[in-house]
């Protein structure tokens, strides 16, 4: 290693796992937690709310309205306002991202269930399915492609949005951006952007795979 600034690869090798807080590996782990929790929590909360909105139609307009407003709020001021409640913790980033996820997933659940053809629903009733069994074995599987499409949007945008949290010191890989800005140096920015885009692509790929495994009939129908 010479006297000049380290090259990209040297910088990566030196900072990948320093054993201290703030190594790239450390930040990657934080980033995964802060993006995965909102994706999963958003889905778990959107499912019952979406189901309720389908069951009681009047509920849908107000729910969608509230989440449309929430979705329009920029993340940084929301993080800042939440600090007084949750402090400078990962939760300050996780909670708003969960709400953004719900704003995308609730309509996806409602649209997905709306895509169940009436004759299919009636066939299930005629076959003696109880409402719960009909939901789990007929309606939810048919809704899966639409819900997963929403989940892909949520996954990719959550992964990229976590980095804004760096401005309150909780940004996962986004911390590389603030570090690079305070001490002007390109490699951390490049590594940060590359890893975030890579994470997003992997998440997206896994969801596409999940869709293939969960809805084999979609491909079977296309093949015939």
């Amino acid at each position: 290693m010479g006297d000049g600034p380290p090259t990209l690869w040297e910088w990566i090798a030196r900072n990948w796992d320093t054993g201290r807080v703030g190594s790239i590996r450390d930040l990657l782990g934080d980033h995964l937690v802060m993006s995965l929790v909102p994706i999963v929590a958003g889905l778990l909360l959107a499912l019952p709310l979406g189901l309720a909105s389908v069951r009681w139609r009047w509920l849908y307009q107000p729910t969608a309205g509230v989440f449309n407003v929430i979705y329009a709020l920029p993340s940084l001021p929301v993080f800042m306002l939440l600090i007084s409640v949750t402090g400078l913790s990962q939760l300050t980033v996780i909670i708003p991202l969960t709400f953004y996820a719900m704003a995308v997933l609730i309509p996806a659940v409602v649209d997905g269930l709306g895509a169940v053809p009436e004759h299919v629903r009636q066939s299930a009733v005629a076959m003696g399915f109880t409402p719960l069994r009909r939901l789990v074995q007929v309606e939810l599987p048919i809704a899966t492609p639409v819900v997963l499409a929403g989940l892909r949007v949520v996954a990719v945008s959550s992964i990229s949005l976590v980095s804004v949290g760096a401005l309150i010191g909780q940004g996962g890989l986004g911390m590389l951006f603030t570090r690079a800005y305070q001490n002007p140096f390109l490699p951390p920015v490049i590594v940060g952007i590359a890893l975030i885009v890579l994470l997003a692509l992997v998440a997206d790929g896994l969801l596409v795979l999940a869709q293939r495994l969960l809805t084999p009939w979609v491909r079977a129908r296309r093949a015939t």
Partner: protein, 228 residues
């Protein structure tokens, strides 16, 4: 709550280049500039691709990829590469992130028009340009406006974050307040940005109500969401 009265009650916050009116105007200027530039690129391109049907897959794939790009990373990258002599390094990522929602929704809007409607327009003797201008655009308008609205959400948020790299606007109160532990500034600035975003939403809803033909707005459209 006392933070709010501290912030909004301080007369020093209401005048000068770092007062609320000046910062509000800056935020509006940067957001509007980025949105208009993005619109000038994305709307014609979306119309062209939707109308000719060529390059659609490319648009969708690119837009999905763009959603993965981290705002803060792009801002820092361009500022480090181009310096802070002008606002160009900040405007580039703002526009870059504002283009995909408009492009995708314009494209999807045009492509989604009922083919029978399109054929009927041609059958009436309209030229390609007339079909686009008199039939396809009015029918696709709700989706085009949705794209603009999502893009505006994106731009207002990104302009806020851009205060970190030295841009003016309402983000200054938040970023500077956080750096100097001036929590009245942080909370006051955050509330201002939230209100600003809500007003932008309301304006877009009013524009939609005023411009979309009533014959069109009765039809159900499925919003395409996606935060970039």
């Amino acid at each position: 709550m006392s933070w709010l009265t501290d912030f909004f009650g301080d007369p020093a916050n209401w005048s000068g280049p770092d007062g609320i009116p000046a910062r509000l105007l800056e935020h509006l200027e940067f957001s509007a500039l980025a949105l208009v530039l993005a619109m000038l690129v994305a709307v014609p391109l979306g119309l062209l691709i939707g109308h000719t049907g060529k390059g659609g897959l490319l648009v969708v794939v690119t837009a999905n990829l763009a959603r993965a790009l981290p705002t803060l990373g792009l801002l820092v990258l361009f500022v480090l590469l181009l310096g802070t002599a002008s606002i160009l390094p900040v405007i580039i990522p703002l526009v870059l992130l504002a283009v995909p929602p408009i492009l995708v929704n314009t494209f999807e809007g045009i492509r989604g028009v009922d083919p029978e409607l399109r054929d009927a327009a041609y059958g009436m003797g309209l030229t390609g340009g007339q079909v686009l201008g008199r039939v396809l655009v009015p029918v696709a308008l709700p989706l085009i406006l949705l794209g603009l609205r999502l893009s505006a959400i994106q731009v207002v948020a990104t302009t806020t974050v851009a205060a970190y790299t030295g841009l003016g606007g309402l983000g200054r109160f938040v970023i500077d307040g956080f750096a100097t532990k001036d929590y009245a500034g942080v909370v006051g600035g955050s509330v201002l940005i939230v209100l600003f975003a809500l007003v932008v939403q309301i304006v877009f809803m009013l524009v939609q109500r005023a411009t979309v033909s009533p014959g069109v707005s009765q039809r159900l459209i499925t919003p395409k969401k996606g935060r970039l």
